[in-house]
């Protein structure tokens, strides 16, 4: 029997880690991730897990610790946010390049500078091309379930890539929500034991991990990594179906909310998708055909499926909680890219919102829908929701 618990997103994720009982967890604090490791360290102190808890001196070391542990044959997890993720950058590539299935909750927070501890997606977006699977989550429940999905997906023999589980800093990580906690045994059985084919501590079959590769083989190894990432896309669905048997939930590439007959669509990830649903309910009661497309799997990106879902729609606004300086905003760029081959494409509008934790209100989301429905907007002009100095 599952239980309904009043948990923060951080507690939810820490409980997923408790149920997984990883072999190695590398711990380093950074707001707003600290809450996860604080909870997990308590489980460790209470003897609820028999994890090797390694207290490291930086995030660079945290990821290095996970690389070493994973190469040695262990199931390794760490968690981070913002500057911590940035400091890991070098080793993130070592993890994915060495094909080590490390799992990492990322509590999304703005990158410096100026220093800011609140939510935006610039941290995860900054490493979107680094060979990590990225799953985005609206709330504590999704983040909790995604940790299990991520472990099983990352460790799949046809994938063997690390995975990030992204949740919004403070909004999700510290907001208390009712969530369904599944039974320890069921979740333990779901992830099972990590059984690598080759591992560093196997003295009967010695291997070298992470050697030098120059002009002769580096290119081939990158092609393998790219192929594995594409493979992860279909395996995400099959692992999701397996997880559904326990949770009763679905794990699609993206969630559609009132999407089928919508004329105007907002595309947004993580917690703001929840606010958007509330706005949709209100506007639908007024007879307005509005809907939501909430991507969950950002890497690998489901281009064809999103193109199909948006084909024939009249208008769509893409809300990015990150800038891409001098380029299209990250999610907008992907959506626009996905639509290139579509005959009946919607007219698109790119919006930036919520940087550094700037609040977004339902009235503002409603305003975006009204702008879309009016059809009276310049698709080349980027909107900024809640920015002083910009007419809304």
């Amino acid at each position: 029997m599952s239980k309904i618990m009043p948990f923060t997103g951080a507690q939810a994720v820490a409980n997923a880690m408790r149920q997984i009982n990883p072999d190695v967890v590398a711990v380093f604090p950074i707001t707003p991730q600290t809450e996860i490791m604080m909870q997990f360290a308590k489980f460790h102190a209470d003897g609820d897990v028999d994890t090797e808890l390694v207290r490291v001196e930086s995030e660079h070391s945290a990821m290095s610790c996970c690389v070493g542990a994973s190469a040695a044959g262990a199931r390794a997890i760490t968690a981070t946010a913002s500057a911590g993720l940035a400091l890991m950058w070098e080793i993130l590539g070592v993890a994915s390049g060495s094909r080590l299935p490390i799992v990492m909750p990322v509590v999304n927070r703005a990158l410096s500078s100026p220093i800011n501890i609140h939510c935006d997606h610039s941290d995860a977006m900054g490493c979107r091309d680094h060979g990590w699977i990225q799953i985005f989550n609206e709330n504590a429940q999704e983040a909790y379930e995604s940790v299990f999905l991520a472990v099983k997906l990352a460790e799949h023999p046809d994938v063997l890539l690390p995975a990030m589980v992204c949740l919004d800093g403070f909004i999700t990580s510290h907001g208390v929500q009712n969530m369904e906690l599944f039974e320890d045994k069921e979740m333990k059985d779901f992830v099972g034991e990590y059984q690598p084919k080759k591992w560093l501590l196997n003295t009967d079959d010695p291997v070298t991990v992470g050697p030098l590769e120059l002009q002769d083989y580096f290119f081939e190894t990158q092609k393998q990594r790219a192929d594995a990432m594409m493979k992860a896309k279909e395996i995400y669905l099959s692992v999701g179906r397996e997880l559904s048997k326990i949770t009763g939930k679905e794990y699609p590439y993206f969630e559609g909310y009132q999407l089928d007959d919508a004329e105007a669509v907002i595309i947004v990830m993580n917690s703001t998708a929840g606010n958007t649903k509330a706005v949709i309910d209100k506007m639908r009661s007024e007879g307005k055909k509005v809907g939501l497309l909430k991507p969950r799997l950002f890497r690998p990106f489901p281009y064809e499926e999103i193109a199909k879902a948006l084909s024939g729609k009249r208008y769509a606004a893409i809300l990015d909680r990150a800038e891409s300086y001098g380029a299209n905003a990250p999610l907008y760029g992907e959506i626009k890219n996905a639509l290139y081959e579509v005959q009946e494409k919607p007219k698109l509008k790119s919006y930036i919102y919520g940087l550094g934790g700037r609040n977004i209100f339902e009235a503002e989301i409603e305003n975006v829908f009204e702008t879309l429905l009016s059809g009276d907007f310049d698709p080349m002009e980027v909107g900024h929701i809640g920015l002083r100095g910009e007419s809304q």
Binding site: G97, S98, R99, L100, L160, K198, D205, P206, V207, T208, V209, G210, P211, E213, D216, Y217, F219, E220, T221, K223, Q224, R225, D227, A228
Partner: protein, 100 residues
């Protein structure tokens, strides 16, 4: 050099699955110049084998040791052998002219 393999034939992530494989790693393909040795002129004085920094000039042991052909799998073409040869029986020639 061994034939290079495709991305479908190699272990993932650059993993090396066979221990002790450094013996298979030939480092001689860096060289721009190759020492061409004239066996007839050579006096087997043993200066070049001793001064070769790669230890890649083999010597047949015996009462009177005999120099053998340079091991091009490891020779980097530094030219020390040609420089120190007292009878000038080694000539450095551009590697591009040789097809291996």
């Amino acid at each position: 050099m061994a034939k290079l393999k495709s991305y479908k034939e190699i272990p993932i992530g650059g993993m090396i699955e066979k221990a002790g494989n450094s013996e298979d790693f030939k480092t001689g393909d860096w060289k721009t110049f190759r020492p061409v040795w004239n066996k007839e002129k050579c006096t087997n004085c043993m200066i070049c084998p001793v001064l070769c920094p790669e230890d890649c000039i083999p010597v047949e042991k015996g009462e009177k040791p005999v120099r053998k052909e340079t091991d091009f799998d490891y020779c980097k073409g530094c030219g020390i052998c040609a420089k120190v040869c007292p009878v000038k029986c080694i000539e450095m020639k551009e590697e591009a002219g040789f097809n291996e």
